[in-house]
Assembly symmetry: C3
Homo-oligomer: 145 residues x 3
C-alpha cells in the first residue's frame, strides 16, 4: 500500500501546497511554459474563465502559456499570479482539494501596477512520484460572477 | 491537564492559523453569515474600524455579516478579505495573539477590482474542542491612522 | 557538528520563514528601524532597485529605514510590504535561498490605498543563534525589468 495523504501531517501538506504554488506561478510568470505544464498531470485540465472549453493535457497547457508569455512580452507587461487564503481539504483518495483566492497583477514597463483580476481558484492536486501536480483547475473571475 | 498550546510545534500552529483564516474569510465573503459567526467564540468580540462600538456575540456577528452580504448583493459587488504577513505569538494561557495585514478587495460586476481598504488585524485566537476560534478582533485602517 | 538546515523538516523551515517575514516587514512598516536592521546579519546587504549601490551593514540599514520612515510620516503615508508566493530552497551550507513576490502598498491619510510597486525579492537567509537573519537581499521592480 502506498502512503496515504492522511498519514501526512496538516503542517507538512500545507507547507508543500504553498511551496508548490509559489514555484508553479513563478514558472508561469517567467514564461517557462514547458516547465509550468509539467506541474500538471499528463492529462491535467485547466478551465480558465477566458476560454469556452478547458485546456487539456501538458502539450496544450504549454502552448497556451507560451502564447500568453509572447503576448505579454509584445505588450511590454509583466504578470504575477498570487495565490492566497489557501484552504486545503485532503481527501481519502489522497488528492487535495484546494480553494484559494488569486490576484493577477499586471505591470507595464515604466508604468503603474494594476490589479488586473481577482479570481477564485479551485484545484485538485494529486501526488505522483512524491511530487504534487495539478490534475484539475477551475478558475472563476469576481467580475463575471 | 489539557494539552498546552506550547506543546504544539510552531509549524503546526502556523499551518492551523493560515488554514483557519482561509476558511473564515471564504465563509464571510460567500455570505455564509451564520457559519462565519460560528468561527468566533460564543461571546466573541469584533471591533471593526467602521463602528463606534465593538460587535459582541455570535448572533450579532451573524446579523452584521448578513447585512453586509445583502448590501454587497444589492450593489452587485464581490468582496474578498485577504490576510497576509501573519505573525503568531503563542501565549502561556494557550491563546494565540496574531498580528497580520488585511487587504479588502472589491469587484463590481463587469467592473475593475479595487483595493478598497488596507488594514491591520489583531486577533486573539483560542482553541475550543480542538478548533481555533476568534475571541477578540481589533482592526485598524491605514487611511485612518 | 551543528544541526544542519536539511535536518529540519520543510514544514518547520517554511513556517519559520513566513513568520520571519511577517515580523521583519511589520518592523519596517512601523518605522522600527533599528529593530528591523537587527533582522539582517551584521554585514547584511540590501540591494534595492531604487539605489545605485547596495546598502551594507546594520548601521546603514537602520539609517536608511529611519530616513524612509521619516519621509512617510512627513507625507502622511502608511506603507506596507507584503511578501507572498514564497519559494524556499534550503542549501547544503544551511542557508535558505528564497524567491518571493513583494507588493508595496501605500495609503495616504484619508486617501485611497494604491499598489505602489510590484517586486521580486531574492533573499539569502542564514541562522545565527537559532534565529533567521537576512544576509543578502536583491529586489527588482516589475516596472523596470
Amino acid at each position: 500500500m502506498s502512503v496515504s495523504t492522511t498519514s501526512r501531517s496538516i503542517e507538512h501538506i500545507y507547507a508543500e501546497v504553498q511551496q508548490f504554488y509559489a514555484r508553479h506561478m513563478q514558472l508561469l510568470d517567467a514564461g517557462e511554459a514547458e516547465e509550468w505544464a509539467m506541474t500538471f498531470t499528463e492529462d491535467g485540465v485547466f478551465a480558465p474563465p477566458s476560454l469556452p472549453e478547458p485546456i487539456r493535457g501538458r502539450a496544450n497547457l504549454a502552448a497556451g502559456a507560451r502564447k500568453a508569455a509572447e503576448e505579454r512580452a509584445a505588450a511590454g507587461e509583466t504578470h504575477r499570479h498570487w495565490q492566497g487564503m489557501i484552504a486545503v481539504d485532503p481527501r481519502p483518495d489522497e488528492s487535495l482539494h484546494v480553494t484559494c483566492y488569486t490576484q493577477v497583477l499586471v505591470t507595464p514597463r515604466n508604468g503603474s501596477t494594476r490589479l488586473h483580476l481577482m479570481c477564485v481558484c479551485r484545484d485538485v492536486l494529486v501526488r505522483e512520484n512524491g511530487r504534487l501536480l495539478v490534475r484539475e483547475r477551475r478558475v472563476t473571475r469576481d467580475d463575471r460572477p
